[in-house]
Symmetry: C2
Subunit: 331 residues, 2 copies
């Protein structure tokens, strides 16, 4: 029988499989709208990765009943172009392909806040980001009818973890990662730090690892706090390789040799997810250790973007109704 034994018990899930469930949800949401939502994309750089993401967004939109309008603009006109879309009732969602003004400039941060909050499918408006960090899930407390928008890539990782049942549906909503230890490699403001916060707010114990060291994100012992706190690591944790053996889940989000994950330190049966543009796990070795391996999440990110768009339209309609109904009656 030895010759028939499989060489690996790792289950590899591709992004398309995870995205498929989400796209079903998107189609159901679309059916309730009685309209064709229009997403406008702004491309103001000549980064081939951005162009490719834009093309892929266009394809996914048109194949799934959405209108997609790619507007290629010069970077000096980006602000005006966004402002025009903000006030155009025919536009329901806006996505901007970054970087426009590369680091060390921080002007992209300004551009992100130019996009109207109610059309921001990427969830990058400060209000959304603030809500995410503060673990505030609705825009209209205490009514709690309008859901806040979550940033696409962190939310895509959440959707992958839900698909893999790492989120435990037998626990109450909001606490479904209680008991899980997760290493997140990357602590950028765009993805790694929000992701660490989001997962910690859902109850996980997070090791956030980047070049400047390790930070621990948790809601405290027994997840007693209502939102995450950030603490220095215990002395026993000096670097990534100290965190890996303790981690049920390892999420890698930054390209480059320095962030390749050493398979020797991965816990037997861990879940390994890569959302970096490079394959940060050794694709052969990881399957000898992991229970789940998800090599990329791009398709999930686009599915989440369309899901956000539908949520935005619901919120836009609810707010419009509210404005109408609260108008003073003319006498």
């Amino acid at each position: 029988m030895a010759s028939l034994a499989p060489t690996s018990h790792c289950k590899v899930y591709l992004a398309g499989t995870v995205a498929s469930d989400l796209m079903d949800e998107v189609h159901q949401g679309l059916a309730t709208l009685d309209m064709k939502p229009k997403l406008v994309g702004f491309l103001a750089n000549d980064d081939p990765a951005a162009k490719s993401y834009a093309d892929w967004s266009a394809k996914t939109c048109t194949e799934n009943g959405f209108e997609f309008d790619l507007r290629v603009v010069d970077k000096k006109n980006i602000e005006e172009a966004i402002l025009a879309a903000n006030v155009d009732d025919a536009v329901h969602g806006i996505i901007v392909y970054y970087p426009i003004f590369p680091a060390p400039s921080t002007q992209d941060g300004y551009i992100r806040q130019v996009v109207a909050m109610e059309k921001d499918v990427e969830g990058l408006n400060h209000k959304y980001v603030f809500n995410m960090y503060q673990n505030i899930r609705f825009l209209d407390p205490p009514q709690d009818t309008l859901k806040s928008i979550l940033p696409c890539t962190p939310l895509a990782v959440v959707k992958v973890l839900e698909f893999l049942n790492i989120y435990n549906s037998r626990l109450p909503y909001g606490n479904r990662l209680f008991g899980k230890t997760i290493t997140v490699i990357n602590r950028s403001e765009v993805v790694g730090r929000p992701l660490a916060a989001l997962l910690a707010n859902d109850g996980a114990h997070i090791f956030s690892v980047d070049l400047d060291g390790i930070q621990v994100f948790t809601r405290g012992s027994g997840i007693k706090n209502s939102r995450h706190i950030v603490q220095p690591p215990p002395e026993s944790l000096k670097d990534l390789n100290d965190c890996l053996p303790l981690s049920d889940v390892v999420i890698s989000g930054v390209p480059g040799e320095r962030f390749k994950v050493n398979n020797d330190f991965i816990r037997d049966g861990a879940t390994c997810i890569n959302f970096s543009s490079e394959k940060n796990f050794d694709k052969v070795a990881v399957k000898e250790k992991a229970s789940f391996y998800v090599p990329a999440i791009g398709k999930v990110t686009i599915a989440v973007l369309l899901r956000n768009l539908i949520r935005l339209i619901h919120n836009q309609r609810a707010l419009a109704t509210e404005r109408t109904s609260s108008k003073p009656v003319e006498s």
Copy 2:
């Protein structure tokens, strides 16, 4: 808001909740049978716990469409009484309430093998136990149509772990505990050792803890082996308190002060299950640490017993059909 904060995020599940899903399955199975299955119980001791288990079995049977016949016999007649039931076509399942011949006698082990394999609802026949240890799941390989019967209490723990989604349904059947570390306190031949083996065969990393030390049950790195192996613990693990901080799940199955679980060592967010007759976890303290706490599993055990009975009847019918169809044609 501090005054509104809950004092604990532990989710307590009672056995009745878990048993309810299983009883639905039992009712569905019963509906396919077109008959009222008859379970015979043998009581040959005056242990009040055995009597109470028998009474509870009777109640559960009669409330759920099964016939239950309790036969109180003198221990010197137990063997003959079982043999009579073995050959009585009106009897579909047999349960014996142990102990009959208490330790240091091992005669109960003999009595267990007197019960006909095809009527053994408790799954204690050597063939069933052997299959469980060897990770052989069917009685008729390679056709694999007749499922082997699993011992009730270990199977009840499996059903609890499935209910809590500790078994991950995104992993292939047979490997669904891959990546989980589980401490099982108790290594008796009746419950603790079979349970450790069963969970390890499903992919878990088991610390089996008893008075004579720790044993590690696994299918090896990457769950490469087709069934579990037993190894000594690494040197760093001297006693229970060394195992607890590493364990996603702690299962306590032996009564007494020496086996009380010290809450200080339980991992934040662990799953804690007690199937001992005493409450081995401090019921207040455990909720400060655990994500799930299951204080008892008795009702699940009885549901599993009825599920085994239905499976036995399916197997009895399949074997009867086979015997009929393989008879030589008379000429």
